[in-house]
Symmetry: C2
Subunit: 146 residues, 2 copies
DNA sequence: TATCAACTGAGACTGAGTATCGTCAAGGTG
DNA sequence: CACCTTGACGATACTCAGTCTCAGTTGATA
């Protein structure tokens, strides 16, 4: 749960209008913990009696993605999800139990990419790295239950 | 273009029936170069007048994925695709120009995962790494055109 | 407060993937 | 070889994420 001001500021800076639906979507995202899908936000909006159309939620997520305020991730199941995040290059560590995500830098990656480039002859332009595991909280909870 | 025998053998070993449609799908995959979607195979089958139902193609791809004869990858566009591959842990380098893919080991990855685990406290269980770039052939072709 | 382009919501549409179900055929058995 | 069981098949209907269209609305700016 982060506050919405970062997203709102980013919108403003990029020259986009600050509309009510966008504010609502930013808030829905801020109230989320871990990754979420467009469908989750649609459900949240409906439950909170906040009037935001389905199409608008998709459009807004696309816009926020463009602003790097959220990022798309692909879960091992093959489903798409979004996570709120900082606008710098990083990767996500995703808890497969509670869905919470953490951002990391994965400093070793440039070396790995260089190594791959050398061995394959590819000119590497980008990469996608997602790590899945169990977060400290869930490890604790599991340990206590056992 | 690989031969289909590896897939056929894998099916047999795992105790699955060797049916005509499965043989056809294996062949369609072997005739492909680079990544492909289920829809591509459906189109290929139709074009080659090979009678394989759409549902069967999806089912067969799921089965082959389970046997690690193919693997799902997520393109930067967000689309899903499949690539034929060897049944050992590895990663894919995908040419964003011609879609051809190469398998690499990315030896540095365990170290990166360990580092992330240490810094976040997560117990890392799995990861997904995909690299995107330009393959040597396309680099050549681009260079010659310029 | 008037203007106008950017934005919105409703709803139709598309296309990937899944579920159902009656039929068929692979492969083991006698 | 003929039979039988059961896994696999194709057709088709369905679901659901995501996109498109368009008439109506709203936020920034003068």
């Amino acid at each position: 749960m982060t506050d919405t001001s970062a997203i709102v500021t980013a919108l403003d800076l990029a020259g986009y209008r600050l509309t009510e639906p966008r504010r609502v979507v930013a808030e829905l995202i801020a109230n989320r913990d871990g990754h979420f899908s467009a469908a989750d936000l649609v459900a949240d909006a409906r439950q909170g009696r906040l009037d935001v159309g389905r199409a608008t939620i998709f459009r807004t997520l696309e816009l926020f993605t463009e602003l790097h305020a959220v990022e798309r991730v692909d879960l091992p199941s093959g489903d798409h999800a979004y996570v709120e995040c900082e606008p710098v290059h990083h990767h996500h560590v995703i808890c497969s139990q509670c869905a919470r995500t953490t951002e990391v830098e994965a400093c070793g990656m440039p070396a790995v990419a260089r190594d791959v480039a050398r061995r394959t002859g590819f000119r590497i332009q980008s990469h996608r790295l997602e790590l899945f595991g169990i977060c400290p909280d869930c490890q604790d909870a599991n340990g206590r239950r056992a």
